[in-house]
């Protein structure tokens, strides 16, 4: 269950496909509109994210990219439109519910827990996966709920005493986190308080924390902002590795067009809260509207 290698779909191993094959849409947003008071942040946005792809969302500043991510992970509630995730239309959603459904997220300005060490930050990402005790399922109406409460209370006691199931669980999860530490090559800083780390490493730790959630959909908000070329290369490699090794679907916002063109499978372009284009990187690159609105400005 907690061995990373078991997360790898069996068919992914083997021959390398010249064209990467993707699964069904993991997430579909349709006609999303979002406004704050009079400010229209998103207007009638629709696109989908396929299983196992790397999807980039690009656009100039204020295009509504971050708002889009916030909608996806339940932080903002759009006034109009539907979101379908894993085939189910989503109703009201709080971020922690999105987390429980397998959506992880990093932030534009690193949102680490500054008072904790690297390892503790990553361990925090495992919170949803930690269960000292599990109530047995009896199927008897009412009894299950009682049993769950009982298990919860016992769980609390084991935490107070750091005993038995709790110690076992802490150890198990620590082992999982260490796999991630190893994967992202942050062994040397595992016990360093994250506040003392340089920016690039903080971003990496944040990615580690998101990975600890074993997400199916990983939202990355400008994972390479403020990094130098070398750090960007490292980060790109890690994103590709994550996508490849764990089969995680990635949606990312990024400003560096080079990176976007390199690592993403499909790109959606937003401008002033509207969708401008959607397609493979080369298609988007040659799109007239995009060049005018976005790339044109950059030149």
């Amino acid at each position: 269950m907690n061995d990373i290698s078991s997360q790898i779909p069996a068919e992914a191993a083997g021959t390398r496909q010249p064209e990467r094959r993707f699964g069904e849409p993991l997430l579909t947003v349709e006609n999303i509109s979002l406004s704050f008071g009079g400010l229209q942040a998103l207007t009638d946005i629709s696109f989908d994210i396929l299983e196992q792809e790397i999807r980039a969302i690009i656009g100039p500043n204020g295009a509504g990219k971050t708002s889009m991510l916030n909608v996806i992970n339940g932080f903002y509630h759009p006034q109009k439109g539907t979101i379908t995730y894993k085939g189910n239309i989503r109703r009201t959603m709080r971020p922690h519910m999105a987390a429980a459904q397998g959506i992880a997220r990093t932030f534009q300005n690193v949102a680490l827990f500054k008072g904790m060490s690297t390892l503790d930050n990553i361990m925090t990402g495992r919170l949803l996966k930690m269960h000292n005790l599990r109530a047995p399922e009896t199927g008897v109406f009412g009894l299950d709920q009682v049993l769950r409460w009982g298990a919860g209370a016992l769980d609390f006691v084991t935490q107070c005493l750091y005993w038995g199931p709790n110690e076992k669980e802490e150890t198990r999860q620590r082992a999982y986190c260490e796999e991630i530490v190893d994967f992202l090559e942050i062994q040397a800083i595992r016990k360093t308080p994250v506040g003392r780390l340089p920016y690039g490493l903080q971003k990496r730790v944040e990615l580690a924390r998101a990975l600890a959630m074993e997400p199916e959909l990983l939202l990355l908000d400008e994972p390479m902002a403020g990094m130098n070329v070398e750090e960007k290369e490292d980060m790109s490699r890690f994103i590709l590795d994550v996508n490849e090794e764990f089969g995680t679907t990635v949606a990312l916002i990024e400003h560096d067009m080079g990176v976007v063109m390199d690592i993403s499978d499909r790109v959606v372009v937003l401008d002033y809260g509207r969708k401008l284009a959607d397609g493979r990187p080369d298609e988007v690159r040659s799109d007239r509207g995009v060049i005018d609105a976005y790339l044109g400005v950059a030149h």
Partner: protein
Amino acid sequence: MNLKHLAIGVVCSLGSIPVVGLLLQQLAEAAPNDIFFGWDFYIEVVVTGLLQGVMYALVALGFVLIFKASAIFNFAQGAMVLFAALAMVGFIEMGLHWTLAFLLAAVVMIIVAILIERVVLRPMVNQEPIILFMATIGIFFVLDGLGQTIWGSNVKALDIGISQTPWFVLQGEFFPGGLRLIPTEVVAAVVGALTVTLLAVLFQYTKVGRALRAVADDHQAALSVGIPLKFIWAIVWSVAGIVGLVAGVMWGTSLGVQFSLSLIALKALPVLILGGFTSIPGAIVGGLIVGVGEQVGEVFIGPLFGGAIQDWFAYMLAMIFLLFRPQGLFGERIIERV
């Protein structure tokens, strides 16, 4: 300083009076044999509450000024009120006329403000708010101890020539016995209103006021356009000190100058919650609501609990209020950004 907000606040609080009155009427009718209240009594209670509220507002005003300009939750405001009042009494005891004593006390408060800025705030720039808050508790102790060391801890009368005999106004059909008003409270209300107006003008039309508002909006931005933050802080603390002096004089004339004055700050806290930590009109309206609420609560709800509920009634009021409007009446709406 948003006039629209001010208007809403005033309408709300005034509007609440008849509603409260109506409620009380119902109450009175439900228990006609136990107690009987006439309309005049309700109004008298409410008016007393309003006047009391102005006094709360005066204390709360000091808090708001400092919080707005420096995001410091100044727990020492109450101690500043006491210290200012003690200083003024001290000068009067030296034989000076109260106006002169007032001016001198104002000077003392300015010196205190500058000292606080120099000794406490400046070395603690960029500290977390909770640390600064604790520091103001430190200031609270120092001012308390200092004031009492210099001027003693006896209760002192503060006489600025306002009679303590109640006035009875509007005698007539509606108020058979006349509306009972305590002159000090009326004066306090007037002075309070004047102070607020003065502050509003100061904020709106002077250079310092504009700088102050800039600082309140964004420290970094203010610094980057060359506003001297430290100077602004000294100014704000001085103004807060003088506002505290006014409050001290008002409270002092009615209650006497004594140690418990420093604890009236605690009364101002629910006012802040109601009004929002950063809103001057909020402080005023909040003060009025708390004043009225407390009086009304004490008279009509108190008996249900066995009385003496002022201690916590305002807090409960504020807390219930918060559940519906977490940012207070006039506080800026918090939009969380990620």
